[in-house]
Symmetry: C2
Subunit: 650 residues, 2 copies
Amino acid sequence: MEITLILPDGKKLEVEKGITCLEAAGKIGSRLAKDAIAVKLDDNAVDLSTKIEQDAKFEVITFSTKEGRDIFWHSTAHTMAEAIMNLFPGTLPTIGPPIDFGFFYDFDKKTPFSQEDLRKIEEEMAKIIREDKPIARKEFSTADAKKLFAGEHNNPYKVQLIDEKSTDDGVGGNKVSVYYQGDWYDLCRGPHVPSTGRIKAFKLTKVSGAFWKADSKNQQLQRIYGVSFPDKKMLDEYVKQQEEAEKRDHKKLGKEMELFMQSEMIGKGLPVWLPKGNIIKEEIENYAKEMERKAGFLRVSTPHLAKKELYLTSGHLPYYAESMYPPMKLDDGTYYLKAMNCPHHHLIYKHKSRSYRDLPLRIAEYGTVYRNELSGALAGLLRVRMLSMNDAHIYCTKEQIEQEFENVVKMNVDYFNVFGFKDYYFRLSLHDSIHKEKYIDEPENWEFAEDVLRKALIKLNAKFIEAKDEAAFYGPKVDIQYKAVTGREETVSTIQLDFAAKTKFQLTYADKDGKENNEVYVIHRAPLSTHERFTAFLIEHFSGKFPLWLSPEQVRILTIADRFNDYAGKIRQKYFDEGIRAELDTKSESISYKVREAQLDQVNYILVVGEKEVNDGTVNVRTRDNKILGPVKADEFLSQLKEEIKEKKK
Amino acid sequence: MEITLILPDGKKLEVEKGITCLEAAGKIGSRLAKDAIAVKLDDNAVDLSTKIEQDAKFEVITFSTKEGRDIFWHSTAHTMAEAIMNLFPGTLPTIGPPIDFGFFYDFDKKTPFSQEDLRKIEEEMAKIIREDKPIARKEFSTADAKKLFAGEHNNPYKVQLIDEKSTDDGVGGNKVSVYYQGDWYDLCRGPHVPSTGRIKAFKLTKVSGAFWKADSKNQQLQRIYGVSFPDKKMLDEYVKQQEEAEKRDHKKLGKEMELFMQSEMIGKGLPVWLPKGNIIKEEIENYAKEMERKAGFLRVSTPHLAKKELYLTSGHLPYYAESMYPPMKLDDGTYYLKAMNCPHHHLIYKHKSRSYRDLPLRIAEYGTVYRNELSGALAGLLRVRMLSMNDAHIYCTKEQIEQEFENVVKMNVDYFNVFGFKDYYFRLSLHDSIHKEKYIDEPENWEFAEDVLRKALIKLNAKFIEAKDEAAFYGPKVDIQYKAVTGREETVSTIQLDFAAKTKFQLTYADKDGKENNEVYVIHRAPLSTHERFTAFLIEHFSGKFPLWLSPEQVRILTIADRFNDYAGKIRQKYFDEGIRAELDTKSESISYKVREAQLDQVNYILVVGEKEVNDGTVNVRTRDNKILGPVKADEFLSQLKEEIKEKKK
């Protein structure tokens, strides 16, 4: 008997009833069958061996999607667990999920795994993979499953998991699924790759401690992280990227270059900007201020605290309370550290009556907000507890949205050009009318606004994707996704349209007829993200080799002997007076030593001064990359420096 | 029999035993006797009628000292209380102390005093003063005094005060003193002026509500404020200054000029800088940054929070805890909002090993600190709960203190010249070796440092006074006292030398021999105070007429008719592109209306554009004070503007 499969592109495929998913995939294409990891049957992910008994939607899952990678990585985690149980009898596997990139598995084992253990485990895994063991799903009643894991494996963790029925999805009732590869088995809801041989390349990356159920009161466990690929080349590329990322790591460079520090006494997630890092932060801020001034933004400064009443009005309380710092009681009320700048800006909008002539009103601030992140989640400058955001809110009429949005996107693109970010795209997040509870109930506004944003992105020829059901509660948004040289994709900045503020804060204006109009739309935007995140991006992007305008030390003047110190000092003073960040090195060391030191410090231009330079009124210039530019008149080089800074050359 | 009085200048005066203080004053000079308000006998303030029975130190108290003014004002408060009891029978006086400037008295009375009441009270007071009633002290046992106030006066407040013995100082044991003027009397420890006629000029200034013992759970009281002088001219001058102060009041101008706002939803003491105020704040900050850059300061940014541990190390906890915001518990410890910037800067000093080559190390930051002020104590920008301080810390050796201190004083003077502050002096606060517990125990350092600061002030020809026993715990300090045009004296900025930080934070450096040296001295300095206070000073100093470089709106271009809008718009754009804060007024109003509006808005230059200007490529310039500068080529005027801004002309 024939049944009908509906493919993702809407095409129909007639197949024999009872055919396996893998066979069905083969009917679409042999390449696809080779790449197939699992299949979505009527939106449920199932193993390739699953037989198809009735008409269904049919979609092959490959490594190119997050879902496919998760299955692939989780299968690798199983293989690792088998290897470890072979090598370290008595070690109990607990849970081993896929993560953002790769997987981990936590084991109950007294002593941590050593680096040598990891190499042994990798060898054992390679053996299991070479054997290409078929992977098969079996279903058990809860009682039988408990016997299975309580018996031979003697694993109380799995028994607890079965009790919690955490694995019964897709099976229902009191059944749980177990995946076998040969004799070895693990509790798992699946799906999995069809055999261990599918794992063509893998690597165990690090070990760490963990706790059962992530609770420090529970049993301490040993965690191993790893990653795997269906192709050796992909692993090689990954390893190379990891090495590059490590070299560029902003935490490492930030410390070496003395850009920022952290202190146990100050606390976690609260970086201190050291003089050199502060220069970068201020250069970015000054640049933003000038760009925003030209674009008609007005700057304000709002306090870092507000009363509970403000956050009740904005709705941050109670919904966002967990991310906020604890409340502080003063003699006249309960205060919170600022969670967001928007409520403050709305009050500025409201502090006097506005007319149509005031719109669009663009209020900008490098505003500082506070997030009560868990200390374990903090990471260098990328995840902190106090952040200074390149924030602004544009208050405009419905008709003005398109132009304002377009201007914001253009400003973003301008910034990215200046910083040399090339690999980015826009993600337009839309609402989904099925999930009414998730989105503000203004269907016409949704349709209108999503259309306006889409049209603007098309008009600007921006590379973008659409993400349904990803909008904010109060309106559609556009995130700018940036792929760093290290391969990591991050949201750099975001533009959000807000229909809700006008009602919550009763934002109004007097229209041309003097009538009060409450159709005030708000665009939230932060093209340069926060100082913290953006500087982290920049450190990694430039690998510490900042362009001249951003560089903490732009010029260093080295003297060949003490008798040239006067001349060098005068040049340094002249440059410094003109705003150049120039330093002097008159140490009694060899010139090659001093050059090397300046190059390691990533000083853009190294100026050597000796007999000839003093006589000619020149400086002998080379770059940090040891490009020799030779002698130039000191004044002329100053002009060149000023020009390069002014143009923000990369 | 003769006894000997020792006068403040050390001279001795032989007088008859039993002479009154007033008579003794007359022997020094008849003018002094006339000005005498009371006398200090062996450092105790007593009435002029007091008889001198033995050798004593003798010092006449006049209105020129705070002590004299307090006695004078408190005597006036008594006179006001008598007037009120005459006019409003049944009204009970409670307490009526002198305050910073003037006095108040709180009365138990159901309804508030009206303005008309005040005039009546003033008339009645004038009558009592004309009668020149002698004021006399009598002492009673506690029991008798209670009868006196419980009886005729039926005043439970005074009875409570007697029970609390709050008035028995100077009498001792169970005696209390009562002051009579004629039949009327009040409980009081004194001293007082000898008769009501001494109050030559007075004024009741305002009424407000109050609570008994300042506790809102107690009885509501009616408060009247007043002020008085021994001379009518002084009152006239005071009234004039008050009017001027009111006109210049930064709260009033700040609101009118839209410089800052406050919001009930944000909370008290947390001003929001509106676009125009933010311009002033940023101009000041940019100026400070440039001055500090040139003076070799390195800028940092430190987080607004720190862990309890830091403030325990610095000693802010527990001693300063009341002024700090309540602690916040996060998952990894207890955090406080930053009370001071110094501990953070000390950590920056310590984050790497320092050598003698690094000193002096000057770390600067417009650092934000938080003060948990009572809501009732907050006032505009002058007293707030979050303040951004023009802070810096100079880490130096003992030998470097003098030069660094001198540089700091010079920078202060430079600033004051630029802002046009003329009426200021330095106050050198010294330790007092008698009060060992109040000062860090480093006698040599005290002597050395006080001497260095004094010498530097003399060398710089600075106007200064010395204030013994007014130093900080950790070292001597120099405050800069500024007398505003409104007559109010304020501490604008402060320079403090700190011997304690080196020990508390173990600040060290490697000296020339590579040995660890822990003699690191710290200079705290904040010449521009905080943004909040300094802007308040500037608003009042300039009465809102800011010099061009500080002005929120520097230029406004007015068109005579619509057909000149294009030309005006182009000029505005050109000026704006060159960084001038220029606006356009193309409203269809008469030019005189538009000029007047611009003048009221305190726009520095008003540029009128019509037929002639378009033809000649000029603008017709006048100032906010209506000085007509006439036609100038638009480009030429732009150059003039840029020059005036660059030179920070007043």
